[in-house]
């Protein structure tokens, strides 16, 4: 079930990227795709009835889910945040230059130049 949610979210993200005209929505689509991939990776490490992979008072011996996907997702999230911040700052500049975030209006302004 979780797999289906991840796949459908990837589809939603790609659909948004292909159809939307507002550049900010492209950035949102990118974030949706990233999140979907992260959900998918996390779900591939889950094992029913097992604990979070931390040795502690309550889980003194190993009875853990797969820890590697969680470590990979941690890296992937940070990379996603970096890309998002850079994209947002580029959008500020796009708006400053063209006065709009609409793809078609930007295209007409580009053609005028």
């Amino acid at each position: 079930m979780v797999y289906y949610i991840a796949f459908i979210l990837i589809g939603v993200g790609i659909y948004g990227f292909l159809t939307q005209k507002n550049l900010f929505k492209h950035l949102v689509s990118l974030t949706i795709v990233d999140t979907a991939v992260n959900i998918f990776i996390i779900s591939l490490g889950y094992i029913e009835g097992k604990e979070a992979p931390i040795y502690s008072k309550y889980t003194p011996i190993a009875n853990f889910v797969d820890p590697l996907p969680q470590a990979l997702v941690l890296t992937a999230i940070v990379i996603g945040v970096g890309t998002l911040a850079l994209g947002a700052s580029l959008l500020i500049k796009v708006y400053e230059k063209y006065g709009t975030l609409d793809v078609e209006q930007i295209a007409t302004k580009e053609a005028e130049e």
Binding site: Y3, I14, Y46, I47, I54, P60, D66, I79
Partner: protein, 239 residues
Amino acid sequence: MRRFISIVIVFGLIMFFINTLSLLPKYGSVNISKVSEAYIDKNVNGNGGNVKYNESESLENGAANVVTSIVVDYRSFDTLGEVTVLFTAALGVSLVLNGIRRKKYGRRPNFILRVSVGILLPLIILFGTYIFIHGHLTPGGGFPGGTIIAAGILLLYLSNEEFDLSKTPKFVEGISGSLYIVTGLVGLAIAGVFLINFLPTGIVGDLFSAGIVPIVYILIGFKVGAELSGIVADLHREG
């Protein structure tokens, strides 16, 4: 027309992924891979196994949090790359937004915000510090800890018009990033291997355990906090 083509593309993509489901293990019954097995038992070099909380001593890696042991020790090189991505993004934000003035609200922020920031800020900073110091024992670590501290900086920006970090984040991230690399280079000098864990690893579950893992995570905490604060400061400008 464009919509129709998009729907076809997306539908094809989802069908492709659903087709791969027959290869994937059922949700909730994944087999732990050989690599993860070795990470959990701390058995990569072949002298671990049967780790027990508060008892096992001097393992190849002493972090009680297995995810931390992967992020900061087994795959530490990835993490170096990861902080570099964030570093590059912060640098990019400052280069892209170069020359835009700081946003002024033109009025005093309201009373509740000003007073509550005074009370909350020390607590937020303390909480962030706690998170990244205990990264090898509890969920958390340098990345969440740094983010919490950056959230505190964001509050400062919202509550005080005159507040400005100027170049502090750049110095902090530069120095902590360099220290991370220097930690690795010390390993290179001592044992001939970059990023090797050259300190004793102690007992699993102690605060002072796991060798260089807490040191590196504290450095990452500072670096991530400074980078995100820098991004917050740069984005907080007149658009």
